[in-house]
Subunit: 396 residues, 2 copies
Amino acid sequence: MIMTFDLLAGATTGPRAGLLRAPHGDVPTPVFMPVGTQATVKTLTPDELAAMGVPIVLANTYHLYLRPGAEVVARLGGLHKFMGWPRPILTDSGGFQVFSLGHLRRVSDDGVLFKSHVDGSEHFFSPELVMATQELLGADIVMALDECAPPEATYDYAQAAMTRTHRWAERCRAAQRRGDQALFGIVQGGMFADLRQESAQTLAALDFPGYGIGGLSVGEAKEVTWRMLDITIERLPPDRPRYLMGVGSPEDILAAVAHGVDMMDCVLPTRIARNGALIVRTGRLNIKSPQYTWDERPIEEGCGCYTCQHFSRAYLRHLFKAEEILGLRLMTIHNVYFLVELMRQIRQAILEGRFAQFQAEFLAGFQPTDPAVQAANKARWLARARQSPDHIEIQT
Amino acid sequence: MIMTFDLLAGATTGPRAGLLRAPHGDVPTPVFMPVGTQATVKTLTPDELAAMGVPIVLANTYHLYLRPGAEVVARLGGLHKFMGWPRPILTDSGGFQVFSLGHLRRVSDDGVLFKSHVDGSEHFFSPELVMATQELLGADIVMALDECAPPEATYDYAQAAMTRTHRWAERCRAAQRRGDQALFGIVQGGMFADLRQESAQTLAALDFPGYGIGGLSVGEAKEVTWRMLDITIERLPPDRPRYLMGVGSPEDILAAVAHGVDMMDCVLPTRIARNGALIVRTGRLNIKSPQYTWDERPIEEGCGCYTCQHFSRAYLRHLFKAEEILGLRLMTIHNVYFLVELMRQIRQAILEGRFAQFQAEFLAGFQPTDPAVQAANKARWLARARQSPDHIEIQT
């Protein structure tokens, strides 16, 4: 079975609700996909993800190609069986890692030569190899190899990367052998309106079953993100899912949905959990704060997650301060559950025609992290990722 | 309710099966108690422990006194509520940590002055303070403050430490205020037969509801352990549970049970799991080994643990090599389950009068870790513990 996508509410622009049917199950959209970089959503079991109602997870081709190797995963029955996750999976193409994390050695029209962060060995990703690798992994949705230009790229650089991305998208499709994986093309074009427009039109003409929107949320100002997103989305076919890569804060999820995005992923909820930052209705709660030492309340009153049902802020703070792994687990559960529940409420609001009201009410009570602080955090995180990509999650 | 202990099979010496009834539930004996140093059995939730059939866990007074502080735990409803574990808990007295991990500053008949490994601050443990602390924590079973002499201690040293331990045991009992906690005395006496004999007799005369046997399994030869244990046990009242502190390998558990021990604890199953060492019927399986790269079998065929029911050796090896927290969780589950299941089988064998046969059959198929390697591992671990006691578990 190949993927199908039914739009249940919404049109080309504005909020949409749909149902994506993949070989391993249904995915109600809009959807947030937790990231399982190395075939595990960090700290959690598949059972815990399923219990929270997570319909789909993402895994990183770059990491799995290097370790344990796609052949190992294939011989063990594919990614679903390997990691014990029976529901849909999306794998990225590895492009973002290779281009963003400093492993890049040389890019040509053929592909990209890079060094492994594990052992320094040289590897070459071509569109054909990336497709073969993703076919060995066996996800429901696979992504074309793209070149992600940095936000400060010049027009010429962004144009060259975009043109290469288009050629690679065609080669990826030509290289596809399996009939049970949906291949998404990825729109690029940097921060330039005419390039974004050209990229969306070119990929739309190639008639992919879905579209990734890459090269956004990589450090540019938020206004630029949403402007580039609008230019892109207007030119994508309304009956195909749009996947905005790398978005995951509540306020950005709401904005992306308002602009017509169907799918998102981000390491944010899992990464910040391991730093003691918890997403709550009012913003963020930092469990390290001394004010929680004696606090017997759950992270958030009324939250239905396992952690809030069983443990106090004081206990979580103790676990975090004492560097106990259980603390990282319990805080990850809360953050992932928060976003799953937020997506459920968002979808319901869209289906009932009251999304704008829902968004306004949510944002009225929610204090987003200062964009400047967010940008600084992300820059620090990317710098650390370049040092040791294993110990942290890698954004897609 | 105070604790009761019913002996169902066995007498003074030799294997015994019993039922210990504590305020928070029943504990079938012989029992292995997983260690939850900082109010968490490392990496696991209370639900996971309960699902495996763990009847009782241990927590460390030294660690909880320093962080988060016994008053915090008490204000949050006591240790059971704080950590979400409704079944029985035993807290040690903190003596082992203070005497063994190099935090010791000065010992006197009053008590022991030591430095916190967390912030270097000075603290003083007296029998009275240790009792007050354990009453704030609220475990079902609490231990008297003891002085644990090192295995190489001279006769005079061991005798002085023993005499002090006896005086502290009396003071602990005099200091007891709560009526719902069973206070165990701890036998010391180093590696000297007449001291062990004297210590057991002295403490037996004090009529404690149970007895810890301390200062063994601290680096001495195994023959010495069992000889000292026999001398001790012969002089303890048969109707009281005997708790051999710090024993946890399958072969040592079997030997201890054969010698009449009812309770044991050790960080071994949880600590070695985090190093990739898995306890199996034939001995140990090191998940790091390249031979498991493609191995789709569970850790152990026929094992009923969650990990073996869901994941392959290849996946566990991948998680371990990729330094994923989920790997530490899944391997910890297997090792704890192995010991829980072993204890269940041991108890059944005792009740059916075939323990010797069970032990012989188990050992015929089991390759214990070389005692010299074990001793070297333990020495390395103690040295590391002195450096950073948080990051590893502390033996009681």
